[in-house]
Symmetry: C2
Subunit: 149 residues, 2 copies
C-alpha cells in the first residue's frame, strides 16, 4: 500500500516520522471519529502530539514502532519499502508492506473478504467530503468467455 505526500513547501512531519521508524500505520475512519481524524491534517508544530491535540488515543502493538489509532476499527501496520518521487507534481509516494492488520473477527468473511461497510469505514472524495458506503454486490473474476456475474 502507498500514501502520497504533498510538496515540501512546509515541513511534512509524516514523512520525517516514517523515515525515523521505517514503519507507519493506516487506520480506517468511521463516523464517530471522523472529525477528530480530519483535524489531524492541521499543521500542528512538531512538538505537539496530534493524538492529544485532536483527542484520539495512540495504541501500540507488540510489533510496530509506530502507533495505531485506538478508535479505528481496522488498523493496518506497514513497514517502509520505498519512496518514489512523482516529478509531475512534486509529490512523493511512500510504499509500505503490510505486516499486521488488527480488526474484529466478524468483519472477515469465510473467503477472507473484509467487510468495510460492517466496520463502518468511510470513503473520502477530494479533501473534505466523507461518505458512508452500501455494498451493491461482489462480482466474480472476469473471464473473456463468461458474462459478468
Amino acid at each position: 500500500m502507498g500514501i502520497v505526500i504533498r510538496p515540501d513547501s512546509v515541513p511534512r512531519h509524516t514523512l520525517t516520522n516514517i523515515m525515523e521508524t521505517k514503519c507507519f500505520t493506516l487506520n480506517h475512519v468511521h463516523k464517530d471519529m471522523v472529525k477528530k481524524a480530519h483535524q489531524t491534517a492541521a499543521r500542528y508544530p512538531e512538538s505537539v502530539s496530534e493524538f492529544e491535540a485532536v483527542g484520539l488515543t495512540p495504541l501500540f502493538s507488540r510489533t510496530m514502532m509506530a502507533p495505531y489509532v485506538a478508535e479505528s476499527m481496522i488498523q493496518v501496520g506497514l513497514e517502509w519499502r520505498e519512496t518514489l518521487d512523482i516529478k509531475s507534481n512534486n509529490t512523493k509516494m511512500v510504499v509500505g508492506e503490510v505486516v499486521e492488520v488488527i480488526l474484529a473477527a466478524n468483519y472477515i468473511a469465510n473467503d477472507g473478504f473484509i467487510d468495510l461497510q460492517k466496520a463502518g469505514s468511510l470513503t473520502v472524495a477530494g479533501l473534505d467530503a466523507y461518505h458512508t458506503t452500501s455494498k451493491l454486490f461482489r462480482l466474480s473474476y472476469a473471464k473473456p468467455d463468461t458474462p459478468a456475474k
Copy 2:
C-alpha cells in the same frame, strides 16, 4: 492522477495503448453499467475490442486520442506524464495530467465541488466489491486553533 498496473506476467494492453497515444481516460462507473465495466478486466486478446465484447460505447472528444466510455457520467481525459516503477511489488504507476473533464453541469456545486453521489459513482473495495455512497458531510480546512467543523 495515476493508475497502478500489475506485473507484466501477461501482456498488459492498457500500458501499451497509453504509450502509443500518450493519453488515457478514466471513466466513473455507476450501477447500471458496473457489470459491463467489471467485465473489461477479462483478458481479451489484443485483436478484440473490449468495448464491443462487453457492450459499452466508445466516445471520442475533439481533444483526446483515447476513447471515453459514453455510458459513464463523469469522464476524465488525461495526458501521460510519467511512468514510475514500484520495485516492491513489480508494478508500474502511470501518472497523467487531467486535460478534460466531461460531466453534467448539475453535478458541480457553486464552489467547484463535484457531487459523486449525485452522479451515482460507485466505489470499489478490493478487486470485486462495488458500493454506492451516501455523503455524511464536508469538513472545513483543518487548522490547529479551530475544532473540526
